[in-house]
Amino acid sequence: MGRVIAILSGKGGVGKTTITAELGIALAKRDLNVCLIDADIAMANLSLLLNMQNSPITLHDVLLGEANIQDAIYDGPAGVKFIPSGLSLENYRRVDSERLQSVIDSIRNQFDFILLDCAAGIEKNVLAAIAASDEVILVTMPTSPSIADVLKAKITAQRLGSKTIGVIMNFVRKENGEIKKDDVMKMLELPVFATVPFDDEIRKSFMQEKVMPVMIRKPGTPAAIEIQRAAAKLAGLSIQIDEGEKKGFFAKLFSPFTNLFKKKPKKIDESKGSMGGK
């Protein structure tokens, strides 16, 4: 029976979607069966982060009763499975988010972890995601407005009978005025799984010809390493950091030449790539 975990923050812009994607990939890299669900039904963008924005069947279709959930599960990076939400505003208006629980229950045996990327706020769609989950992880920035909102999110989860298991602090810059990990633990009465530093590599991962999560592109960056630690803690595994391929100065300098002599990898059929590999 898989663990269904909602990633929640209350406040928008704290990095919930990024944390969900990176955490899911980090868990998948530890050979766990992971499914990411874009439960932000109104403002879905997890698919953009995973570069899987053209998925023909989405969670919207499933919640509308027009498609089977199995047809909305796609192969994502590093073996992670992904259920996207649609980008259509019209369908969003028609969707019955209260069906989310039964949809998730029907697939929970297929995975070790099902991570739900929730919307900001505590509106109906967020409540549906919380109610459909067994556990909640709160994501916050080390600032007071963000903490105020996770407090409300924690109370909401408690009201709906979902267990809040921990906090991930994101965008940590170690500035004087930041709220520290110990303060967060004391205020929220929860363990802090990770303090993810502000890392420009995350921002840059959106600025590529082919958008790719940093856990794939550069797993050795400080933010990715911290998320790998959080994944290990969450799964109860020993911490093994994948730092990716590290190149020294000379290796980087001569890489254009050495690449000429390397055997070219087989070309991946794009039509069967991230989008169609159901």
Partner: protein, 163 residues
Amino acid sequence: MIKLLNDVKNFFRAVAAKVLDLDDTVKPEQHLKLFEDYLDKFEFDTNTKDVRKFLSVLTKKHLVDDIVISTMTGSSIASVNGNAVSTAISGAALFNYVQSEHPKSESVLIKNGRGWSILFPQNDKLFIVKASSELSMIELRALTKEINGFLTKSVPGSMGVKG
């Protein structure tokens, strides 16, 4: 002498901070103080055997004004104020009428003045909830799940409990 050195040091530090625009942020202690007891206000002790006390705590936890539980035929099972006979009868009559006209209806929402009355059947019981805003089905289910859990655990043959 030491005080003088400290004053000089502080002076140069202040000048340097001004000129170099150094990080002068500090932790918002007032906010932290505000948050410190925030969660305590939302700690709800539902560990009681008194049904009225339990429902009273639930009204605060689920942000509603009143809860009445009745049978589908209008007999009052339990309520917050202990006197809900007329609410139970009229609630059950109303819900049964609506369901006879709309057999698939899952709940009835009535906007009355400043608040809402919500009729929600579950496990052969009718939950009549009054609140200042309408509750989603998800919130109603969470509320009724707790009540059903309490009735099953605390009151054997729960249908017989009088409000």
